[in-house]
Amino acid sequence: MHSKQVRRRRLVLAVLVVISLILLTDYFGESPSSPLHTIQRGIVEVFSPIQQGASTVLSPVRDIGNWFSDTFKARSQVKQLKADNQKLVAELARARSALAENVQLSRLVGLDHSDSISSYHPVAANVISRDPIVWYLQIEVDRGSDDGIRVGDPVIGDGGLVGNVSTVGATYSEVTLITNHTMSEAAQVVDQKNDSGVLVPAVGDPNQLVMQYLPTNAQGIRTGNLVLTVGFKSGSLQDLYPPGIPIGTVTNFNQAALANNGTVHVSPVADLAHISVVQILTRPRARGVRAQLP
């Protein structure tokens, strides 16, 4: 009787482990259009309304929890933010002056300034689920193909770039954050020469980005410089992201790292850990043909 129980227990364990390994191997080697992925999308499609409901119902709990967390965090940031504020007030005055000058000069050469965010047809979406594990870094939002969202659409929020849409269902979308290891973006540092490079997540640190391929002799880069999307266009190849969207600010600038490797560290502008509302740009190219993912 006892040995029968032991055999049964071991059999159940072995069967479960084997099923898991088969799923893992099969899923890992499959393309996104394969049966396992399709089944997964179907299940998420069913789950999505339940998650939306749960997210709404549980929002007071979430808000209370975040209030405590934010209070502790805010207390430690007051001093730093006061210093930043003083610096930004001075920068704002300079920027306003530059903007006025820019408008005048633009009128002079006939440039069009209508490419604001609204011209990219943003769709507001609520975050309904979040990956708690440091490895995947993605969020699920409550808007999908029914709202005109497609794979590859840029996602912005909290004053900066958040990521792009990686999976779309009828009523939900999965957004891969810019700190995910699969992401990289063309970006430029707002310095004297607008030096550009490629922004990738810092290996081993999901809250940091690294800007690579900068000119090693770049002079104007300093801690606090803003980093923006480039929105390049080269023949038929176009950037997924519109130009001028803030991505982050240069942190812990190290001249030696720039001179040796052409890299600087960047902190995302958007608070990706707390973001609850995002905007999906459904027409990333305000005019002309948009970039397409394969």
């Binding site: 898991s20 799923l23 979430r62």
Partner: protein, 205 residues
Amino acid sequence: MSISLSESWRLPVRLAILALLVVIIQEAALSQITIFGTSADLTPLVVMSVGLLAGSISGAIMGFGTGLLVDTVLFQTLGVTSLLYIAIGYWSGRLLELRDPSHGLVPMGVGAATTAFAGLGMALIQFLLGVDAPVSWLLLQQILVTVLVNTLIALPVYSFVRWVLRPVLPEDPRRRRRRAYTTGGLSPLEATAARARSRGRALTR
């Protein structure tokens, strides 16, 4: 026959509802509350609690189901979390079957161990799958904070799972004995002691 069949389904049905509920609460609310840069993870704690209460087979099956649900909902590689949670559920169940721990703080200790196992196991599997994120100090720090937070909430989670499963679990012999003592029933030890005392008295006479 129909009564016994419905009774045999009561535990799996409760486990399935519990898994569904926990995954939804985790993804829709808890994972969006950050504490020192990370968030509590209920799922390994629930799997651990099921193992500690219902045994190794139920624990392993619960681990498989919950892990699969987490992977599906989060668009992760299917099977990764299942593999880890099977181990958590199975070994928590084996702990119950082999040691039958009675101390009230056992869920805290096992909760901490299972959370650490889940965090480090996930890191190892991701490393083997080729994710470009080697173990860093920040990652270890996040795992440590999650372990700390999960240790604090392990007891309430265990109590909740026990409350959900108690009506469908086979009666715990320890609880039965304890009830017999408090309601005036004789424990086998007391009966033996009473017999020995009366025998001693007879001999002295």
